[in-house]
Symmetry: C2
Subunit: 118 residues, 2 copies
DNA sequence: TTTATATTTCTGTAATTCTCGACATATGGA
DNA sequence: TCCATATGTCGAGAATTACAGAAATATAAA
């Protein structure tokens, strides 16, 4: 993950329709969703949606595969991880004391055992 | 951290000069840097830098205080944490199994003890 | 008060991005 | 082949953003 790739990822996520697209796709892991259904869900014309999916795709944040007439999109959790890593490593940069509380704060979101807060 | 604040943060980080500004400021925690010195370090005209600092500031990613004739900028690690949290929580959204490996991957960046990899 | 330093605001221009109608391409079924 | 469905590409207008010169504001020192 170099700086340009990070810039591309942030640019992709800095537009409302695209951020919503990303969120919808996260909630449809691991099956993914066809482009047309994303457009319908978000109430966006199909060609506009296609353009946005292209941006997300070039940024590496989503991947697609054709399935018959549909094209199924999925988020790339891997790329997501790299993007987060870029930011966090920046914040760490030789000073883990800045970064540790940052990660501590994220933990509650991912309970290590089976159940979340009761 | 609502969606609009997240969009603003991503937009702020999606421009090269601003991302570099953020990185420079991280490396100058906790003292911060005066606007003019940031401009000099990144070789950007002072008024252009001022505009970019305004964007970062409105996005909440940096904070400033006047010190005599200078205005000292610092990153807001707190806001940074909230932005990361927004993304990670989105990825978790009812499915910690997606998110846990994501956080696992970030850990090596912040060694819990004093030394990093040898 | 005058001058120098530090930063921001104003302003116009250039460049980029967003949007969507119209058209093109790909697939599968009749 | 012909038609319907699903998606992508092209093109142009609208909106937004980036940039930097010039002027304005704030502070401090002479």
């Amino acid at each position: 993950m170099d700086t340009n790739k990070a810039l591309e990822a942030f640019a992709a996520l800095s537009q409302a329709t695209r951020l919503n697209t990303f969120r919808v796709l996260v909630r449809h892991e691991p099956e993914g969703l066809p482009a047309g259904e994303i457009a319908r869900l978000l109430d966006v014309p199909h060609n506009t949606m296609s353009t946005h999916l292209g941006v997300l795709s070039r940024a590496g944040l989503v991947v697609s595969r054709r399935q018959s007439r549909s094209i199924i999109y999925r988020v790339s959790l891997n790329h997501m991880r790299e993007t987060l890593g870029f930011l966090v490593r920046d914040c760490c940069a030789g000073r883990p004391e800045l970064c540790e509380p940052l990660l501590e704060d994220l933990k509650p979101c991912c309970p290590p055992s089976k159940e979340t807060v009761s």
